[in-house]
């Protein structure tokens, strides 16, 4: 680990890791990537992130940083080019608010929807749509190409999973969450996001994601059912 200053421990399918990869690419930061097997965690990962034991972990000058949104803040502070967060403290507060919203209200609901069945799934789909409606409203209000304005920023990277991962979840779960007639601003944003030069060449393969999430969502749903029936 001595020859490289920046390392990223990741997992190919993880939307959390993806955020960090995009941020590093936007900033033009060179790094070494280490793929982790999340089902057989390495001693390196357990040493670098003993509390959460999760990826991504960014290692910079031998010091580890974990939690994707916090890693993005760190990257933004260390490498000043192409800022991710706005300069003004009020705008920064808004960006942090919407990033947290995208993560906790949108992504978590869509994941819950994928990994549940029956009534529980219906409820999670409903929550996802409600959260996305708020996201849509905010995008409409802003009226800009990206959440960050005319350039990609903090919230775009955190919410980026909507553009490429949510359609896979919908397909795997045969769910309809993002209706283009009801979310025109979101669909415009998705188009702009996916066509950004940094984003479009750095996405996990759709067919691999489909297989992985089909398997994973079944495992989690089965586990939930067996806990319930135990």
């Amino acid at each position: 680990m001595q020859s490289q200053r920046v390392w990223l421990l990741g997992f190919w399918a993880s939307p959390f890791v993806q955020r960090v990869k995009w941020a590093l690419k936007l900033k033009g930061v060179e790094y070494e990537y280490i793929e982790e097997d999340l089902f057989d965690k390495s001693s390196l990962l357990l040493k670098l992130n003993p509390v959460q034991k999760l990826v991504p972990v960014l290692v910079h000058n031998r010091k580890p940083i974990s939690e994707s949104i916090l890693i993005l803040e760190y990257i933004d502070e260390v490498w000043k080019q192409n800022p991710l967060l706005p300069h003004d403290p009020y705008e920064r507060a808004q960006a942090r608010f919407w990033a947290k919203f995208a993560e906790e209200k949108v992504r978590e609901s869509t994941w819950d929807a994928l990994c549940s069945r029956g009534e529980e799934r219906e409820k999670a789909v409903k929550s996802s749509i409600e959260a996305l409606e708020k996201f849509e409203e905010e995008l409409k209000l802003k009226g800009t190409k990206f959440f960050g304005g005319e350039t990609i920023g903090f919230v775009d990277l955190v919410a980026g999973f909507i553009s490429y991962q949510l359609p896979v979840f919908e397909e795997v779960g045969s769910m309809k969450i993002l209706d283009s007639s009801k979310f025109p601003a979101t669909f415009d944003w998705i188009y702009n996001f996916l066509n950004h030069p940094v984003i479009k060449d750095d996405l996990p393969a759709k067919d691999l994601m489909f297989d992985y999430y089909a398997k994973r969502s079944k495992e989690i749903s089965d586990e939930k059912d067996s806990c319930r029936n135990a």
Binding site: V51, H60, N61, K63, I65, S66, E67, L70, I71, E73, Y74, E77, V78, P89, Y90, R92, A93, Q94, R96, F97, K100, F101, K134
Partner: protein
């Protein structure tokens, strides 16, 4: 700065509102505060300022609203830079944000599980709370405060939650000081600070509030 420029929408027992009050006190920022009637009926201003969550605290600075307590403390630190709440180096700031995030995700809910449950569920909740406090003791190390020698960001995020510990101890039948002496020592150290002592509600009053909540939830 005129008092009217900074307004806090508040609820007296909320540890999240206390975080904001402590941060403003540390910075010497004058502000107005307006108590919200959480159970009786939230004000128009609150519903308009925080339409998504409809929760306190909300900080309005020159009429511009901000929500989510950790976010607000960040804003306060960036807007009034002296004295700094976050450390100077990017890495130390990342560590501070990590602990703040950990506390936000785990501590209040774990405590809630203690007063909301009984029997086996309560025993499991107690175990979880103590594990969280032990992790925090690890983060504190031998330092006086989470940031080192000075009271700062993580201390502000954590200390208000300790006003609810008396209630957890009463309903859960355990003692935080016995289980986590280092954490208890840090708590006492923070309570010796004027901004903290003047802001935090009396744990006995918090206990009465939690007792009322238990009755409302039908837990006896």
């Amino acid at each position: 700065m005129a008092k009217e420029d900074v307004l806090l929408l508040d609820f007296w027992v909320s540890p999240f509102c206390s975080r904001v009050k402590i941060a403003l006190a540390e910075k010497g920022v004058a502000y107005q505060q307006r108590g919200e009637d959480i159970f009786g009926g939230k004000s128009e201003l609150l519903l308009k300022s925080n339409p998504i969550y409809q929760k306190v605290p909300v900080l309005l600075h020159d009429g511009k609203p901000m929500c989510e307590s950790t976010n607000i403390v960040h804003y306060i630190d960036e807007t009034w830079p002296s004295p700094p709440l976050l450390p100077a180096s990017a890495y130390d700031r990342a560590r501070a944000r990590f602990w703040a995030d950990f506390i936000d995700k785990k501590l209040f809910d774990a405590g809630g599980n203690i007063w909301k449950t009984k029997g086996e569920d309560q025993a499991a909740a107690k175990k979880e709370l103590i594990q969280i406090l032990k992790y925090l003791e690890g983060g504190l190390g031998d330092k006086d405060y989470f940031g080192g020698d000075s009271f700062g960001f993580v201390d502000i995020i954590a200390i208000p939650l300790t006003t609810w510990f008396f209630a957890y101890e009463k309903f859960g039948n355990f003692n935080v000081e016995e289980e986590c002496p280092k954490f208890a020592a840090w708590t006492k150290r923070c309570l010796g600070r004027e901004s903290v002592a003047k802001t935090l509600p009396d744990p006995q009053q918090v206990l009465e509030f939690v007792s009322m909540m238990r009755k409302m939830h039908g837990i006896e």
